[in-house]
């Protein structure tokens, strides 16, 4: 699969877990990119074409909601699908993420099967 994924989470541990789950779910990416917050993700997307973004919501510097807003304001990257990976399932903030164009959600703690089920729709 010649695709690139960007994992956005302030926890290095969670980025590793997401990357491991992608492999376990059978996804093989040409490149797995990582960013610790929304701002770093935007900086990265400015120079790298990515097929899908998996993003946490609750992060310092720039959270996942503001990341979605800023991404939507940039025509170059607006179309990249974003899946939210978060503990905050069912909350107002998650509804806001969906209204801002997030294409799916994965609730922590997740299994590889759950990752496969959600990402399989987009990859």
């Amino acid at each position: 699969m010649e695709k690139k994924v960007l994992i956005v989470d302030d926890s290095n541990t969670m980025r590793k877990i997401v990357a491991r789950s992608l492999r376990q779910a059978g996804f093989e990416f040409e490149k797995v990119l990582e960013a610790p917050d929304g701002q770093a993700a935007l900086d990265l997307l400015a120079g790298e074409a990515v097929d899908i973004v998996l993003s946490d919501i609750n992060m310092p510097v720039m959270d996942g909601i503001e990341f979605l807003r800023q991404k939507n304001a940039d025509a170059q990257i607006k179309g990249i699908p974003v899946v939210m990976i978060t503990t905050e399932a069912g909350t107002d903030v998650l509804r806001e993420a969906m209204e801002l164009g997030a294409v799916g959600t994965i609730k922590k703690p997740f299994t590889a099967e759950q990752v496969q089920e959600v990402l399989g729709k987009f990859l």
Binding site: S11, T13, I17, T87, A89, G90, T91, P109
Partner: protein, 154 residues
């Protein structure tokens, strides 16, 4: 009744988190379980901001955190340093805390959490009622504490 439900939710939140993140099983604490202290463990706290003011704390031995890191990182390239221990404990707390609030609060109830703070020592829990759960994973202790009347209301 409410206490039973809280017991169940806490147990499930910890069990599912450890199983999904590190393929580990929890068990009740035993007499020979190494309990986390400021000498052999780390502590993390996370504020509950809405729908009530509260706090979730998690303490774990560094031996347990190292074991989890070895599973998650699948033999880390670099030595396990304090930053990795801290990050792991913070993520465990974030995931367990989110899971237990999702399960404990009514389905339509929104909630908001702060970011985890991790250290070797933590201040006493915030005001109000509090309760601790002592568990073990592979002979190493894990203590979850909930503080704030909102956890125990009803």
């Amino acid at each position: 009744m409410m206490a039973d439900r809280l017991n169940q939710v806490v147990g499930q939140a910890i069990a599912v988190t450890l199983e999904n993140m590190a393929f580990m099983e929890i068990a009740p604490v035993q007499a020979d379980t190494e309990v986390p202290t400021s000498d052999n463990g780390m502590m993390a706290r996370m504020l509950v901001l809405e729908p009530f003011q509260g706090e979730v704390q998690l303490a774990a031995t560094t031996a347990l955190l190292r074991n989890v890191i070895e599973v998650v990182h699948a033999f880390p390239d670099e030595a396990v340093v304090e930053a990795m221990l801290s990050d792991m404990l913070g993520e465990l707390l974030n995931t367990i805390g989110g899971r237990l609030l999702t399960e404990y609060l009514p389905e339509s109830q929104s909630y908001r959490l702060g970011l985890p703070e991790v250290g070797w020592d933590l201040p006493d829990c915030s005001e109000g009622q509090s309760r601790a759960w002592n568990l073990q994973i592979e002979d190493q202790g894990l203590v979850l504490t909930l503080a704030g009347d909102g956890f125990f209301a009803g």
